[in-house]
């Protein structure tokens, strides 16, 4: 079931068309029966990813990532709507209702997080702010980094899960950019290819190791 969900939205190669979020916002709401658990898990995952994406968009001054944040923000509204509907249908007695109210509160919180992420990317559009945001964000404990994959790297054509990037370097890959396409939240079966750009989150040490590996200066990750 987990695999099926992941096929849904994350980890696939996509092109974010301009104003994709608008299409999502004005499309008809269709009632798709999904379980509360699936909805809530997706909402939690988005709530964590979207913050990092929002800061990445601002840090790297990237309008396309900002666009994805707007899309996820709109998607989150929909998920929140769906989960409310599902919860109402599931409640039969007062005890059910009490417990389900807790679920809806967490869902609501996840939605507020995505709204905050939307506010962060709006900083990008309005003012050309200059270097103050990157200056602030570069001091964080865990930072966001951008690395280009060299065709000399042993990582080329390998799966992220097989390379164990995250467990070996602590670097969590948030986004892959491949030519004009983007893969958000790549999964363990996503392959890395030469000339991909990766945006990842982690410590300085993790970055140095991963960078060497992706530049082809290091044969394997230790």
């Amino acid at each position: 079931m987990k695999e099926k969900r992941k096929l849904g939205i994350f980890g696939r190669l996509q092109r974010t068309p301009k104003e994709k979020w608008k299409k999502e916002e004005f499309s008809e709401l269709e009632y798709e029966p999904t379980t509360v658990k699936e909805l809530l898990t997706e909402m939690k995952d988005i709530s964590e990813l979207i913050i990092d994406l929002a800061y990445s968009a601002v840090l790297f001054d990237n309008e396309e990532i900002a666009e994805e944040v707007r899309y996820l923000d709109v998607r989150m509204d929909k998920l929140n709507y769906d989960i409310r509907m599902m919860a109402m249908m599931a409640a039969r007695a007062k005890d059910d209702a009490e417990q389900l109210a807790g679920i809806l509160q967490v869902a609501e919180a996840a939605e507020s997080i995505s709204n905050a992420a939307g506010d962060i990317v709006s900083l990008l559009k309005k003012e050309k702010t200059g270097p103050i945001l990157p200056k602030i964000l570069k001091e964080a404990d865990e930072q966001l980094f951008r690395i280009k994959v060299s065709n000399q790297s042993k990582a080329c054509d390998k799966k992220i899960g097989d390379l164990k990037v995250e467990t070996k370097t602590g670097m969590r890959i948030l986004v892959i950019r491949r030519d004009e396409c983007w893969i958000y939240n790549p999964q363990s079966d996503t392959t890395i290819q030469a000339n991909d750009w990766l945006i990842s989150r982690g410590t300085d040490e993790g970055y140095e190791e991963l960078n060497k590996f992706l530049q082809g200066e290091m044969e394997v990750l230790e």
Partner: protein, 193 residues
């Protein structure tokens, strides 16, 4: 007052708000009221930070040390982080209510891309008596320690100087594979970090 102060405060608000999210989800996963209460305390702290940030930012604008544009950017970023902190508090609030948590809550927190884990450090573990900076768990296992319980004392958002002692309980966040490695390390089954 230098312009550094303003940037430091924004960063602290940002880092703390992310810690709060992690703690809030952990409190639900482990049905842990102590962690949930900490989220409340952090929210108070962030409110204070945000207020002092507003004042300092305005002072710097008045002294012409910060442009109006930069000041607005700083304040809006902090406002967004503050909203994230509020959301974390909402999540923690569910744990603190006198209603048993719906099992789906725990499953959803558990069954996601990033897992939270809790592990006790055994006396024979290589982690004992080392600082987090020494063992570099983050870059070696992918697991980031978000809280340490030492007896009945808690350390939230530990840094590289924080020490791990035998008997401590570590609350960490990271990928599923990293979790196994951390569990083996804490149990003393693996000596290699």
């Amino acid at each position: 007052m230098t312009s550094k102060a303003v940037e430091d405060i924004v960063l602290e608000i940002k880092d703390k708000s992310e810690l709060m999210i992690d703690l809030a989800y952990s409190s639900i996963l482990y049905d842990n009221e102590t962690i949930a209460k900490e989220v409340y305390d952090l929210e108070d702290l962030i409110d204070d930070l945000y207020k002092s940030l507003q004042r300092k930012t305005l002072e710097q604008v008045e002294n012409k040390k910060l442009s109006v544009e930069d000041a607005l950017t700083v304040l809006r970023l902090a406002e967004a982080a503050e909203q994230i902190a509020d959301a974390a508090q909402e999540i923690a609030d569910v744990e603190l209510r006198d209603v048993e948590l719906h099992p789906i809550l725990k499953i959803s927190v558990r069954d996601s891309d990033v897992v939270f884990t809790r592990v006790k450090v055994e006396p024979q573990s290589v982690l004992c008596d080392k600082t987090l900076g020494d063992i570099k768990l983050g870059s070696e296992t992918g697991m980031y320690i978000r809280a340490i319980r030492h007896g009945d004392k808690w350390l939230y958002g530990p840094d590289k100087h924080s020490k791990v002692n035998s008997g401590d309980v570590l609350f960490a966040k990271g990928p599923e594979d990293g979790e196994k490695h951390l569990l083996a390390l804490a149990a003393g089954k693996t000596k290699e970090i």
